[in-house]
Amino acid sequence: MRGYVELFNLGKTYDTPKGPQVIVEKFDLNIEKGEFIALLGHSGCGKSTVLTMLAGLNSISQGGIVVAGREIQGPGPDRGVVFQAPCLLPWMTAYDNVALGVDRVFPHASKAERRATVEYFMELVGLSSSMHKLPKELSLGMQQRVGLARAFAVQPKMLLLDEPFGMLDSLTRMELQEVLADILQKDGKTALMVTHDVDEALFLADRVVMMTNGPRAKVGKIIHVPFERPRERARVLAHESYYDLREQMIEFLEEQEKLKHQAA
């Protein structure tokens, strides 16, 4: 079966002082249009490597990646990226940070239209009242909201999120998970999110893809998350299969941990 996003036989070899290191090998994954994938795995297994290759920010050593029927060549605004750190340009206001991409991607739209787009996404992430502040005047959580707005506002084919809420306290994290779930509900975007938070994966994803430990990491186990959308946290937590799925995931991760110790 061919997917909207296809990663086939994907591999990454880094050149290190100790010679070439194969980090990811034979990584195969098909993502359907509108699907939300959570990518889970132990720290250092190669999750960010896969994500940055998909973003085009990292060169591909073997295999290839196809998005919407076309093999990717480097980065592009068709794939929005949100990293762990908000990475806003500190000399621009929140509004200008978002407008930078909007102006680039919709150069033929009128000024008013572009403005409306930026304001719409600012409102979507709940930042209408502090649009014109500089990043340093915003809390980390608010900065990451701008990061989300920036990624969504260029209306990419898919979104790539690398532990986007990893730096936030748990309350802010839950808040932002809901913001993200909300936008995705409205926008129906295809998304791949790296996380190491099992509950976050279950709350947001349609499928959870778990990687084996590196080196030569690949897809180890895929779990379908059957909760209907829109999701409400309380209902998700109360779902009959929630703890069963959670258990399966933790079991897989522990198994991988054991294998690592045996290898060592």
């Binding site: 920010l57 592009g76 929005g80 990226v81 990293f83 340009l89 000399w91 930078l100 340093k136």
Partner: protein, 357 residues
């Protein structure tokens, strides 16, 4: 309110005054007094010691022109120079007033002659009026004029240097190929003394300066001084710009990569703002270097300005002129400090604007 004051003091580099403000606000008086003693007492004390040592030296060192000038002599000569300037301004004004009157008289006479039908005499009067108009006040430039000339020259050279150094620095910082290509040249030219550049610049300016003097925008001497300043002061800005651009955060560049920004937008929106604090740090060093180089160039080339003033006074050789040289030394130092202050303020204002979190 007080936070604004402190931020202002910090930005203009006058942190030393912060305790004074706190004292006025009645905050921990003893502590503030102690800080004031350190911030102002210590500099005052060193200054007094310096004056003491100088006075002692001046009464003990005999030069061939008499005693080394004392601080008092220098102050006196500063006054003399100032009065000479005021007198010069007055004389110039008087000259042009007299000229106006003369032209008015001649034109009036020309009118009368032409009314009488004596066209040849009228033409003669008009010609005289034209000649009178062309007469220029000439006197050796006063001390203040020399200062203004030097300031104009250093800024011209500095602007030329910046216009060259910043774009090349950005190119070096963005492209390893350009960097590798230009590096040897930069390494070789950077340490060259202004005294070595000067003859080359003068000869080149001489060869290329073919405009007739009355049509030229700039004087030859101005051009050669300014270009020497530019050649010597562009290196710090170039090096700093290249370094600032090369050390842009990868995250910020990734923003540009993901959005596929075109080169010009990338330079304008990401590279320049991010490197701005480093660029300004470079500009500050450049202006300082430029000011030092200018004085040397003016001395050597006999181009108008403070350097020439020092040299002329040295040639005159008298106790008074020695004191005037010392006035010049203080002037050069104080102006240099002032230029540095201005650059600090600019540098801090851009750093504050772009610093994250």
């Amino acid at each position: 309110m007080s936070a604004t004051i402190f931020r202002f003091l910090d930005r203009v580099g006058l942190e030393a005054f912060a305790p004074v403000v706190k004292l006025i606000q009645g905050e921990d008086v003893a502590l503030q007094m102690r800080r004031i003693a350190v911030n102002f007492g210590a500099p005052l004390l060193t200054f007094l010691l310096f004056l003491g040592a100088w006075s002692f030296a001046s009464s003990h060192i005999m030069t061939k022109y008499g005693h080394l000038p004392s601080p008092g002599d220098v102050v006196t000569q500063a006054g003399v120079l100032w009065e000479a300037h005021v007198e010069g301004v007055r004389a110039e004004k008087a000259f042009y007033e007299a000229q106006e009157t003369k032209i008015a008289e001649l034109t009036a006479a020309a009118k009368i002659f032409s009314e009488r039908g004596q066209a040849d005499k009228a033409a003669r009067m008009e010609e005289l009026a034209r000649e009178a108009k062309q007469a220029k006040f000439s006197a050796s430039p006063s001390y203040v004029t020399q200062i203004l000339t030097s300031l104009k020259t250093v800024f011209a050279g500095f602007i030329v240097a910046s216009l060259i150094a910043i774009p090349i620095g950005v190119l070096c910082g963005t492209s390893p190929v350009v960097q590798a290509g230009l590096n040897p040249l930069i390494q070789i030219f950077k340490p060259v003394s202004p005294l070595a550049w000067l003859p080359i610049v003068m000869i080149c300016v001489g060869a290329l300066y073919t405009t007739r003097p009355e049509e030229a925008w700039f004087e030859k001497s101005f051009l050669s001084s300014a270009l020497t300043v530019a050649l010597c002061s562009l290196w710090p800005t170039l090096a700093n710009t290249a370094l600032g651009v090369a050390s842009i955060e990868k995250d910020h560049l990734n923003v540009a990569r993901v959005l596929k920004l075109d080169t010009w937008t990338r330079v304008r929106k990401i590279i320049i703002p991010s490197a701005l604090p480093m660029i300004f740090a470079g500009l500050r060093i450049s202006l300082g270097v430029g000011w030092m180089v200018l004085i040397a160039a003016e001395m050597l080339a006999q181009n108008p300005g403070l350097g020439k003033f020092v040299w002329d006074m040295f040639q005159n050789g008298s106790s008074q002129t020695l004191a005037q040289i010392m006035v010049a030394v203080f002037t050069i130092g104080i102006i240099g400090m002032g230029l540095d202050r201005i650059m600090i303020i600019l540098q801090r204002s851009v750093s504050y604007a772009s610093v994250s979190r």
